[in-house]
């Protein structure tokens, strides 16, 4: 009896040391963990592989599955990308998208920092209701706003101008950034600001010299996230911009590269790929900030 309990104890400890959620090792772990995980990764990444491989396929291989293995490319070509860059307005679209995203992000960050500071630090009567209102503003989706916004944009004479996008994107960027920054400001000890104010700094000096430097990770998170959101925005850009040369990349790829019934899949895929690369590069540099802002926004 004692022997049995003694031999049972180390076993339990072993299990504990492996981590409780750890399942048994060996083939079972392979089937329950690595196999489903690799299927997930494969399925999640396949469309991008398919996009990339289509973009560098010559037309002959693209439309002939009988003689070619569609998963591979025998004689890769840059023709599609070349055509995209030099025979369409693609560089112009990229430039417009980047400018609109950058300016809208800068505007939203400026407004959000001040708003978050007012709500979180200059506590006033009803500040939590202002916070709640901003949270609710985040829940208003662009798909119910674009029709009245289109009439507003028309009245303001901004139709078909990038300014229309720069002014409307903050409607979804400000709530998100403010919400995220409130959370960041909360994590900064108020004592630091009090010290600065005792030393004679004004509130705005305190914000600039103490709070903002400490909230830098939050600002970066909010900034790159806002940039990505503006880059990906579609419905406003589709509704408010008409001239081909002023369109943003997502809209232009869909509306300008599709001509009639003949789809040039090669250049369409090249367009989709090139439009994704800037965000992907930004993403690869700031992965942790993305994860932080994604989970931070949900947790708050």
């Amino acid at each position: 009896m004692t022997d049995q309990t003694l031999s049972a104890r180390p076993q339990l400890q072993d299990k504990e040391r492996d981590g409780v959620i750890d399942w048994s090792s060996g083939p079972r772990r392979f089937v329950t963990l690595y196999l489903p995980l690799s299927i997930f990764v494969l399925v999640l990444l396949f469309p991008f592989y398919w996009m990339a491989i289509t973009a560098i396929k010559p037309n002959g291989e693209l439309l002939d599955y009988k003689n070619n293995n569609p998963f591979w490319v025998k004689s890769p070509t840059l023709e599609n990308i070349n055509k995209l860059l030099f025979e369409t307005d693609y560089p112009q679209w990229l430039w417009t998208t980047m400018m609109v995203a950058a300016v809208a992000t800068a505007l939203s960050l400026f407004a959000s920092v001040l708003a978050a500071y007012a709500i979180q630090r200059l506590k006033f009567k009803g500040s939590q209701y202002v916070g709640l209102a901003i949270y609710l503003a985040y829940l208003v989706p662009p798909s119910i706003l674009f029709i009245p916004l289109a009439t507003l944009i028309f009245q303001l004479g901004l139709f078909d101008s990038p300014l229309a996008l720069i002014l409307t994107y903050p409607t979804f960027l400000i709530p998100f950034c403010t919400w995220l920054l409130i959370g960041y400001f909360k994590s900064i000890p108020y004592e630091l600001e009090e010290c600065a104010m005792i030393d004679g700094a004004t509130r705005l000096q305190t914000l600039r010299r103490i709070t903002l430097p400490l909230a830098m990770p939050g600002l970066i998170s909010a900034g790159i996230f806002a940039f990505t959101l503006s880059w990906n925005e579609f419905i406003y850009a589709l509704a408010f911009i008409q001239s081909a040369e002023k369109k943003t990349v997502p809209v232009a790829v869909l509306t300008q590269l599709v001509e009639g019934d003949v789809y040039h899949w090669g250049s369409l895929m090249a367009g989709a790929l090139l439009g994704s690369i800037p965000v992907a590069i930004l993403y690869s540099f700031f992965v942790d900030y993305y994860v932080a802002s994604l989970t931070g926004a949900v947790k708050e």
């Binding site: 829940l139 009245p148 790829v253």
Partner: protein, 318 residues
């Protein structure tokens, strides 16, 4: 000379301190800080929201100011088969896609919560579908669903030999609907998985140890420890997911544009089609306004989810 210098300095510092004091005066500072954000949101969010509700009760068209016509837009929509189909499509799309996203996303989160090599790299890779512009990945799906050159059909017919003919993914109503749902699930999994993973990581291992000592098996541990602890974050992620799936526009517009023959329209795409290219701003606004009751329900759900979290963690802790 010295007196003048001192005087000018006091004058200067007096002016300066007047400004400084104004900027340190709390009500003024609060007003100033809230002004940019509130200005933007009032002009470009609250006002359009109200304007949209007003437009829904008028017969406004592009280039013509509308008259108030009461509920006429909604009455005509009630008998509009395309609109009714779009409502059912939206509900089906939201329901099935949400279940799919959460089932698969939770599974993926549980898988990622194990000790794995290259865990952060893996997490980074998994988020990619969510980072890339939806329309651009939708175009890739459009090509994957091509009737003649679909890679899925190729694998099923020519590699595996499970089917005789290529699937017409987007040409028939039901296959088209499920193709859209599949694309939406694909795009939604990363968001759900990474958010839930963050929730899973906050669960203390000692709870699992306690459950194991009490003899709970893996399923019981999941049911009685993981799920209840995950509930608060699950409620929030669920609300966001439902909200954004319900009002989705990009995927459907990019892949089918509501076709074949208006069979896959969601409310958002139908509102766009009637409102902007069709020019019937009033009718488009009415379709958009019809989404609001559903959104309010989703928001209330989120509110009660959060309230429940408060109840679990104690009143003071927010």
């Amino acid at each position: 000379m010295a007196v003048a210098a001192v005087e000018s300095r006091t004058v200067h510092s007096l002016q300066h301190s007047w400004l400084v004091r104004l900027f340190d005066y709390k009500p003024f500072l609060i007003f100033l800080c809230l002004l940019p954000a509130a200005g933007f949101l009032l002009v470009f969010l609250s006002y359009p929201l109200g304007l949209g509700i007003w437009l829904a009760f008028t017969d406004t068209r592009i280039g013509r100011v509308g008259q108030f016509i009461g509920l006429e837009n909604f009455e005509s929509l009630w008998y509009d088969r395309v609109f009714i189909t779009s409502v059912w499509n939206t509900l089906l799309y939201t329901g099935v896609a949400t279940i799919g996203k959460f089932a698969l996303g939770l599974w993926l989160a549980l898988l990622l919560n194990n000790h794995l090599p290259f865990k952060s790299l893996l997490r980074a890779i998994i988020l990619i579908p969510w980072i890339v512009p939806t329309v651009l990945s939708a175009i890739a799906f459009w090509w994957i669903y091509d009737p003649q050159f679909s890679i899925i059909s190729y694998v099923l017919v020519d590699v595996l030999g499970w089917r005789d003919s290529y699937i017409d993914f987007l040409g028939q109503p039901w296959p088209a609907r499920f193709s859209l749902i599949a694309a939406n699930i694909w795009r939604g999994i990363p968001f759900v998985a990474i958010s839930l993973l963050a929730g899973l990581q906050t669960i203390s291992p000692s709870l699992y140890e306690a459950a194991m000592l009490d003899g709970a098996n893996a399923w019981q541990r999941f049911q009685h420890v993981t799920l209840p602890m995950l509930m608060p974050i699950l409620a929030v992620v669920l609300t966001f997911s439902v909200l954004f799936t319900f009002t989705d526009f990009q995927l459907v517009y990019a892949i089918t544009r509501g076709g074949p023959v208006n069979a896959t329209h969601l409310m958002a795409t139908l509102a766009f089609q009637r409102g902007i290219p069709g020019g019937q701003l009033g009718e488009g606004a009415a379709i958009a306004v019809a989404m609001i009751p559903f959104l309010v329900m989703a928001t209330l759900f989120s509110y009660f989810g959060l309230a429940r979290r408060k109840w679990q963690q104690g009143e003071d802790n927010d």
